[in-house]
């Protein structure tokens, strides 16, 4: 948790006021509990990650993915 906070403060600290830093510290602490639960959940080497969500109806089929086209004006997107 502390390392994440320090990374934020070192990269963006100049943009943040004291109240925002306090808020970030609280958020990081709250997030840590969720992370701890997530890390404690037993997973095996054989458990495949759902790298890109495919609902289970898709498992049997593997459609050939077409390359995504960059939309016109995409530079305006963040």
């Amino acid at each position: 948790m502390e390392s994440r906070l320090q990374a934020v403060f070192s990269q963006y600290g100049s943009r943040l006021n004291d109240a925002q830093k306090t808020d970030l510290r609280r958020l990081a602490a709250e997030g840590q509990a969720a992370l701890d639960r997530l890390r404690a959940y037993p997973t095996d080497n054989s458990d495949g990650p759902a790298l890109y969500l495919r609902p289970l109806i898709e498992r049997e089929k593997k459609p050939s993915p077409k390359p995504s086209r960059k939309p016109v004006g995409a530079s305006k997107k963040s």
């Binding site: 994440r4 997030g31 759902a50 790298l51 969500l53 289970l56 939309p71 004006g73 963040s78």
Partner: protein, 466 residues
């Protein structure tokens, strides 16, 4: 001003009148425009109204129908898409100040689909900034201001499809398009007393839609009934090579006919979706009793237990940090309205790839668990939310922070869900019922919700707007 009832007619009913030439699309569009101009600002429902586009599309629809070329049930029907769908040449603000002047030179696929079936775009619905992608603490987290609930303007519509909910509930358009990453169609549908469908992930193209968490973002209709949702879904569903998240052609497409042979659904009640019901216990109990009568031998089941919300949160946070990377790094994130939205992105950037990988493994495990449940049941039912619409001033971080395993599971697994009104609180605020089905089995959720609506009339009630 015509009688108020016309503004609350279903798409299905409006379509009958339009097809038989008893109702003019131009006149319908004009009265919806007048009503939207009059009442839209009261609810902060719109990001922008598009009267010129609307009347041009309505006139074209009318001309075609007069010539005998009727395109189907959305032809000449006014609607409003959420303001994160690109519409060529007009602002697409994503509800956020840093994008207030953003204009795309192309249409999103959903907008094109609706154009092709002759629907009439009346305006763009307001929304929570970045669809809540950087977090938010207050209902006011929107470039367009807090969306007020037509049932009680001191209450919120819920987000992030906040304007879409207000527009449908206030009868400002016949339907709206919303999006959901986690809760953003189901919650506003519940709070606003409308019917909203969150389709299976990948059935509706997101091309031209703002990305929040690309492995969880979905687009769906918000309307007056489950049947209306089905008709709209049929128009917008389908594989799209421009969105690599869409599923294959034969799985993505959706066709709907009310006369389709119904299958006998195995419906179960989720008894542990929520811990308690604040102010809505009575209508929830009545809805459950009604379901038992309608579906006969309705069993009770429990959701699988695990860190699903933690996994869903992490995935949303990490993917949103990627989606809004330039906004975060440039510091423009500080231009967002909400105090939480201004800073959360900084922290979201710091999660490790190992933790994200763990969340994805957990998602895979959960998908298999849910698939096993759907071996025994077609549809799971639970209240859409444990509370009715909340006050506008509520701190959402503390006041709307109850556990939401149902939302986490449904969205992590990309499952279809349909929320329909099922009663009212003593303060006359609507309560919603969620019908959840297996991946790809959207028709089961639609059929169950439609059957419920054939036996109840909650969806026909509407607020009085003066």
């Amino acid at each position: 001003m015509p009688g108020e009832e016309i503004f609350y007619l279903s798409v299905t009913e409006l379509a009958k009148r339009i097809e038989s030439k008893k109702l003019s699309p131009v006149e319908l569009t004009q009265i919806y425009l007048d009503r939207s101009q009059k009442f839209g600002p009261r609810f902060n429902a719109y990001a922008t109204l598009t009267p010129e586009i609307a009347l041009e599309q309505a006139k074209a629809a009318e001309k075609e129908i007069q010539r005998g070329h009727y395109r189907g049930p959305l032809h000449g029907i006014p609607y409003a898409p959420k303001d994160l769908l690109a519409v060529k040449g007009i602002p697409t603000t994503w509800g956020a100040k840093p994008f207030a002047n953003q204009v795309f030179e192309y249409n999103s696929t959903v907008i094109d689909h609706l154009k092709n079936v002759g629907a009439v775009m009346i305006g763009k619905a307001s929304m929570i900034e970045l669809a809540g992608g950087s977090g938010y603490r207050f209902a006011s987290a929107s470039l367009q201001g807090e969306a007020k609930n037509p049932w009680d303007p001191t209450c919120w519509t819920c987000g992030s499809s906040s304007g879409s909910g207000a527009i449908v509930a206030a009868g400002l358009a016949a339907f709206a398009i919303g999006t959901e990453t986690w809760g953003s169609i189901i919650c506003p549908s519940s709070f606003c007393g409308v019917s909203g469908l969150r389709p299976t992930y990948g059935r509706v193209s997101r091309y031209g839609a703002m990305a929040l968490a690309p492995s969880m973002d979905k687009i769906g209709p918000m309307a007056r009934s489950a049947e209306d949702c089905a008709r709209i879904f049929a128009a917008i569903a389908g594989h799209d090579p421009k969105d690599r998240g869409t599923i294959a052609i034969d799985k993505a497409a959706f066709t709907y006919s009310p006369s389709v042979e119904l299958r006998k659904l195995r419906v179960a009640w989720l008894h542990d979706a929520w811990k308690s019901f604040e102010g809505s216990a009575k209508p929830v109990a009545a809805a459950k009793a009604a379901l038992k009568k309608i579906f006969g031998n309705m069993k009770e089941v429990a959701l699988p237990v695990g860190p699903w919300e933690d996994a869903a949160s992490l995935i949303v946070q990490v993917e949103s940090a990627s989606s809004f990377r330039s906004l975060i790094r440039s510091g423009k994130i500080s231009e967002l309205t909400d105090p939480l939205g201004q800073i959360s992105g900084y922290l979201n950037e710091q999660y490790s790839a190992a933790d994200y990988g763990q969340a994805l493994k957990i998602r895979e495990i959960l998908q298999k668990r849910m698939d096993a449940i759907f071996e025994s049941f077609d549809v799971l039912v639970a209240p859409s939310q444990p509370v009715p619409a909340t006050p506008l001033s509520l701190n959402l971080e503390t006041g709307l922070s109850f556990p939401d395993p149902l939302g986490a599971i449904g969205n992590l697994c990309g499952l279809p869900a349909l929320s329909v009104p099922c009663g009212f609180t003593e303060k006359n605020l609507p309560i919603g019922l969620e019908f959840l089905a297996g991946a790809g089995d959207d028709i089961a959720a639609i059929q169950a919700a439609r059957t419920f609506q054939q036996h109840t009339d909650w969806h026909k009630r509407h607020p009085r707007i003066h």
